[in-house]
Symmetry: C2
């Protein structure tokens, strides 16, 4: 293989697993990758050691010489201080991460420059460079999973905002004084369009006595079994509770997309995350209709591309590698 492009390592630091890949940031090609459990209980220092091992293994597997690597980009599941290389807080990984100097700690161990960024933001970069957003100058990415996150790309560059907290689409308001959101407020998109919202609707309907094939899988001996797989199966079987819950989430996702389009008028909106990966473009078709109804510029109806993400799990690591090269070589 001719490894000619600008090579960097992209890391996806998740609550349950760590993933590292050596990425050709000009083609998106992955030369070597490694994955391990995050083991969040080890705390910031312990997990960071595991990140180092994962990165070393990816380098080894790639066969790329260390001196060819421009640096390491890490996508972190929470707010960060990119300038200072600090994690601000990772709710799902525990309090030892508050203010943790992740970039410096990794730099000392890896002997490579390290750039950190929010995981959803780098996911947007990945999809923009090599996924569903290819060629779009302005793009908004939305990732629908347990939560709902997003990233904004304008003129081909990630917008991180004045305080590094742009793209918090999950906390845009869709129903004033509405359902409670994980953040403590009410009526936000995440409370209506995330996987958690779908699950909540199903539980509520079943608790209210609505018949559903999901009633029995809700909990078995205290272990919740309301997995995405079961929900999808019920939806496809036409189970009314599942269908209603998903329709509602699609409706609100459409409204959220309309908000982004009315404010920024992007060329493309890319939708990814667990829910989309499982159900694919079929999930998006009704969403497009709901969104278009609220576009002020009706011309946007034909021209805004609302498309499913293409890179799946790897968008974060690929985007993190790209973002690292951009920041290390031209300060973007």
């Amino acid at each position: 293989m001719a490894k000619k492009g600008k090579l960097a390592i992209g890391v996806d630091l998740g609550g349950t697993s760590l993933y590292a890949a050596v990425v050709d940031t000009e083609t998106g090609q992955i030369y070597g990758q490694a994955k391990r459990k995050a083991r969040a209980e080890l705390g910031a220092v312990g997990v960071t050691k595991r990140v180092v091992k994962t990165v070393e293994r990816a380098i080894l597997r790639s066969g790329v010489k260390r001196k060819r690597l421009i640096g390491v980009g890490v996508g972190v599941p929470g707010p960060i201080d990119a300038e200072g290389g600090l994690v601000i807080r990772l709710t799902n990984l525990g309090p030892t991460w508050d203010g943790f100097p992740l970039a410096q700690t990794l730099e000392r161990r890896l002997k490579l420059p390290v750039v950190i960024e929010n995981d959803v933001n780098v996911g947007a970069v990945g999809e923009h460079c090599f996924g569903a957003g290819r060629g779009a100058s302005d793009m908004v990415a939305l990732f629908v999973g347990t939560g709902l996150g997003g990233g904004v790309i304008l003129d081909g560059k990630l917008r991180t905002g004045f305080r590094g907290s742009a793209g918090e689409v999950g906390h845009m308001l869709l129903r004033a004084d509405g359902d409670p959101c994980g953040c403590g407020e009410h009526g936000h998109a995440e409370a209506y369009a995330s996987r958690t919202a779908i699950e909540r609707s199903i539980r509520k309907a079943i608790a209210a006595g609505e018949p559903s094939m999901l009633a029995e899988t809700i909990e078995v001996e205290g272990r919740p079994l309301l997995t995405s797989k079961y929900i999808q199966r019920a939806y496809e079987a036409g189970d009314a509770v599942a269908v209603n819950a998903i329709r509602s989430a699609q409706y609100y996702l459409g409204l959220l997309i309309a908000d982004c389009v009315n404010l920024l008028d992007p060329e493309a909106v890319v939708v990814g995350g667990g829910v989309l990966e499982r159900m694919g473009d079929a999930y998006l078709e009704p969403v497009r209709g709901y969104a278009r109804q609220h576009f002020l510029n009706k011309h946007a109806m034909e021209t805004v591309r609302i498309v499913a993400a293409e890179l799946g799990d790897s968008s974060g690591a690929v985007g993190a590698a790209v973002q690292a090269v951009r920041r290390l070589t031209d300060g973007a």
Copy 2:
């Protein structure tokens, strides 16, 4: 006076009046200005002739030689095709404007290059260059009047979007399936936070029999007298109907600002328009509180500047002149 800066003419083409000013686009200083009634009933051709006369008078009054002028920028109250110099539609000015080649028509008569842009977008540019948004790299402007419009400035430049329709903040959703909006849809910000929304609340409360000092001024012999002046007076006197209507509009304006902050994380949010000009910063104080409650990044509480516009009526013309110079000299 030393007129050394880049000089251009800015025009504000409104439904009721036309305003033109010779503007030093480096300082914001106005050297000569003229105003006349729009007389919308004359149609696109007739009103354009009046624009020409208004511009000629402003040039004459400024004492600036024609060859010193880089061009003319026109702020138009509706969607435009900036590239083609075409008006798309001006709902308040009648159907003769549909597809009207405003830029070319003015160029032929004025013998100067003409740039057209949406009026609210150029208002944002004006406030950014010489008003309340001075020095902010990223800024969102919201103008609260009969309608609710906005403009987005990032890295100091106006973002017009892929189809030229960015900044349509009035049609961002705040309450799914809520009150009807002028655009035909439901639940948009304009239906809750505009002057029209305030008026509608008041009429509704009075129709429901709530006592109010505004009850008698609602209509006199078919002529509506529910003016901003009366509403403000009632509000200041503590009239419950006026207070509730304004509180509600302030609440929703706060939610809209939170949406913009959560998506774009700008340095400043500038709020202008008729309602703000009349009531000033006092109007914004509760708005700030409502907005902050929904910021995901609570640090933004201290650091996002939410400020009242400073240029009043002239922001559009000043911004149009600046935008004309930018587009004519560096294609921005």
